[in-house]
Amino acid sequence: MKIIKSKRSEIFDIELNKDLLARNRRLAKENRKRFDHSNILAIDIMGSIGSGKTSLIKSILKRLGLGKKVAVIAGDLTTTIDAERIEKEGARVIQVNTGKECHLDANLIRQAIERMKLGGVKVLFVENVGNLICPGEFPLGAHKRVVVISVTEGAYTLIKHPYIFREADVIVLNKIDLAKAMKVNSFQLEKDAKKINPNVPFIKTNALSGMGVSKIINVLGLRT
């Protein structure tokens, strides 16, 4: 009789216990340390597609007039359109293409700040990829997180996506000039915001005329 030796001994386990989302949170903390070390105020601008993130950054830069003391990381899937638009305001701009990715992550920001000369920079804006879902799960290490929506997305943006607003330090309702045409009640949206995040500043803006933009500058502590 032949004894067939069990092959089980050739099976082995590799224990990894690796949390892939925790890695991003860890990198975000490292980014934050770097910003603090260099005395840079970092602001993550998140929000829906086309809600006016780039327009608002441009409008804020115009008002601040800080030139190259402001840096902007422009996240975009593939194009450099936003980076070029922002560059016209005199800030240092670096483009980060995420390719297929629906959000920026802390590692992309880490690489961008390594490539960027941050000497003399006081404020860093990061324009995240237009998306109300994923960026919420991927903190970048910014001190403040702004979520920009606009009336053109309709009346239910906040209650449909409470998660990202829970994490926000400032909520901006842009394109307020179009509220009437869109039949959107901005007060209801403000009520929804207060329900999700009771203490958050809710600012109504028109990024093209600049209305409300100085309020954003104030709550972000950008007045020098």
Binding site: F12, D13, D19, L21, H103, C134, E137, P162, N197
Partner: protein, 123 residues
Amino acid sequence: MHEFSVSSEIVKNVLDATQKNKGGKVLSIQLEIGELTFLNVEQVTFWIIELFKGSVAEGAEVKIKTINARIHCKVCGYKGGIRSGQKNSLRHLALCSCPKCNSFQFKTERGQECVLRRIKAVK
């Protein structure tokens, strides 16, 4: 929402770890995904199986355990799970608020993980 990128990273980690250890063929992998992540378990499974194709992990079994959330409400002090319902669906997460007082102001103590626990391989 970002199942593809997370799955790609899992696959990369599995293949790297297998190569660094004794090599061989991957039989199964074990993952744990928190209830409060934006990751849909079925989609993650689908992508991992797809991405494994043509590698030493082709055909490996993908086992995923859901980790129940634990929250701490800042308004009423509630500590515990969220409303049970559709696990791991975006809708469920979107409606996620304190089951006692409905507040959205809570700290997440558990449920945000995506852990690659272990790999079973054969030489």
